[in-house]
Structure formats: C-alpha cells, structure tokens
C-alpha cells in the first residue's frame, strides 16, 4: 500500500513536473513569434514560405500596396450587393425579378472579384523565381476557389439555421 506521504510526494512531483513541462512548452511556442522577421506584416507568410530575397519582397510589396485599395473597393461592393439582396428577400414569399437580378449581379461581381484576385496572384507569381511562383499561384488559386466554396457553405448553413 502506498502511504499517504508517498502519494503526496508523488502528486507534488507530478504537479511540479507538469508545471515545468507547460512552462517549457509555452515559452517555446510563444518564443517563435518574436522570431518573425516581419511582425504585423501582411506579407510575412509570403516572405517566409517562399524564401524571397529583399528585392523580390519589395516588388511584391509594391504590387500588394497597389492591389489593396482595389481589394477594399471590391469588398465594399460585395457587402453592398449582399445587403441589397437581403433587403430584396425580406418578407418575400417568392423569387421576384428583383431577387433574380440581385443574385445575377452578386454572381457577376463574385466572378469579377475572383478574376481580379487571380490576375493579382499571377502578377505576384511572376515576380518570384519560377518554382516558387508556380507553387504560390497553385496555393492562391486553391484558396480563391476554396474561399468561394466556404462562402457558399456559410450561406447554406445560415439559411438552414434560419429555416430549419
């Protein structure tokens, strides 16, 4: 039989060991963040993932800064179009011509945005060495299409929650 003293000692050892393990784990996990060369930078992932030189990073930054206002404008247009469509659907018992028109406009806008995104990604890919560029473009193409699917999933889920 383990005595109470032994049990207490074992428990204390486990507690101290657990605390030391957690401290080591936490410090190591958190310690990676200051190692980031570009903290708070939108392009940190691109720089690290594709191991770009400073000159390549500068070219991509210039492209990124040029694309950002366009992206913001597109986001605003999408949000406005979604609001219009929601307003047209309030109290609607059937799909009116206004709703149909709204849906078509949203689809057109989405395609326009995707095309613009892909054009930007192609431009960025061209500034990289060819292997990295191809990998970058494949990844961004996948993300562009997946985000579209994600958006649709989110819409389907919210529709199901509202009208189970």
């Amino acid at each position: 039989m383990i005595t109470t003293r032994s049990s207490g000692s074992l428990l204390l050892a486990l507690l101290v060991g657990g605390t030391v393990f957690a401290a080591g784990y936490w410090m190591a996990a958190r310690g990676r963040i200051p190692a980031n060369r570009h903290p708070g930078d939108d392009l940190a992932w691109v720089c690290r993932e594709f191991q770009l030189t400073d000159a390549e990073v500068e070219r991509i930054r210039s492209l990124h800064n040029g694309y950002k206002p366009k992206c913001e404008e597109m986001a605003a247009r999408i949000a406005a179009k979604n609001r219009e469509l929601e307003a047209a659907l309030v109290g609607a018992t059937n799909v009116s011509p206004a709703v149909e028109r709204g849906l078509a406009e949203v689809a057109t806008l989405r395609a326009e945005c995707q095309a613009q995104m892909l054009r930007h990604f192609q431009e960025v890919a061209r500034t990289m060495p060819s292997a990295q560029g191809a990998r970058y473009f494949a990844e961004m193409q996948r993300l562009t299409l997946e985000l579209h699917a994600e958006l649709e999933d989110a819409v389907i889920q919210s529709t199901h929650h509202e009208h189970p």
Binding site: I2, F21, G24, E72, A75, I78, M117, T144
Partner: protein, 118 residues
C-alpha cells in the same frame, strides 16, 4: 496466640482441584461478557494487518522510486528532461501557429470575400 498463628502458617496448601475452592475463585473473578461478534472482529483485524504487510512489501519499489525522485540530483535531472521535452514539443507547435496566423493574415489582406464572410 503466637502458637496459633504459627500453627495456621504450617497448615497444608489448599488443593487446586478442590471444587469448592474453584467455585469460590470463579465467583471472586467473574469473567467479563464478550462484545457481540468479538471473535469475528479479532480475525478481521488480524487479516487486515496481514494484507497491509503484503501490500507494503509489493509496493516497496514505488516508495523507493519516490525516494529516488526526491534526491537532488535525480530531481534536477528529471526537471531538466521534462523542460526539454516541453520545449521540443512547443517549438514545432509555435511554428505551426505562427505559420497559420501569417497565412490567414495574408489571405485576409488579398481576398475581398474573406472580408465580407458572414
């Protein structure tokens, strides 16, 4: 008077098998009543002590381990090993989290859909 006293001292010792004497002794020292299930309780206690001894013998190695763990050298080595394990597992996890956070930031910056997700 003195002679009478001496004559009493010289009388033969009482017979232990004398039934009268035995009855007298029994009445003088009454046997206490045993508690109910007294005998059973005694056996249980004996059994418990026996089991405790057996268990202590089989768990001796645990106590030896606990004693060893608290020796300064082993305790320090153990803590260092535990700390290194934590660091060893924490580094890749931190790397993955950082990578995921940076990628999410980039995607949020370049995707208008991401900005308008409900």
């Amino acid at each position: 008077m003195l002679a009478a006293a001496f004559s009493h001292m010289n009388s033969p010792p009482p017979n232990a098998d004398d039934p009268k004497l035995r009855a007298l002794l029994r009445d003088a020292h009454p046997r206490p009543e045993l508690l109910p299930r007294f005998q059973e309780g005694v056996w249980q206690r004996l059994d418990r002590v026996g089991r405790r001894r057996e268990s202590a013998a089989s768990n001796g190695w645990i106590q030896a381990l606990v004693r060893g763990m608290f020796r300064p050298v082993y305790a320090t080595l153990g803590l260092v090993a535990v700390m290194f394990t934590g660091v060893w597992l924490g580094v890749p996890d931190g790397e993955t989290r950082l990578h995921r956070a940076e990628k999410a930031r980039y995607v949020a910056a370049v995707s208008p859909f991401h900005r308008t997700l409900p």
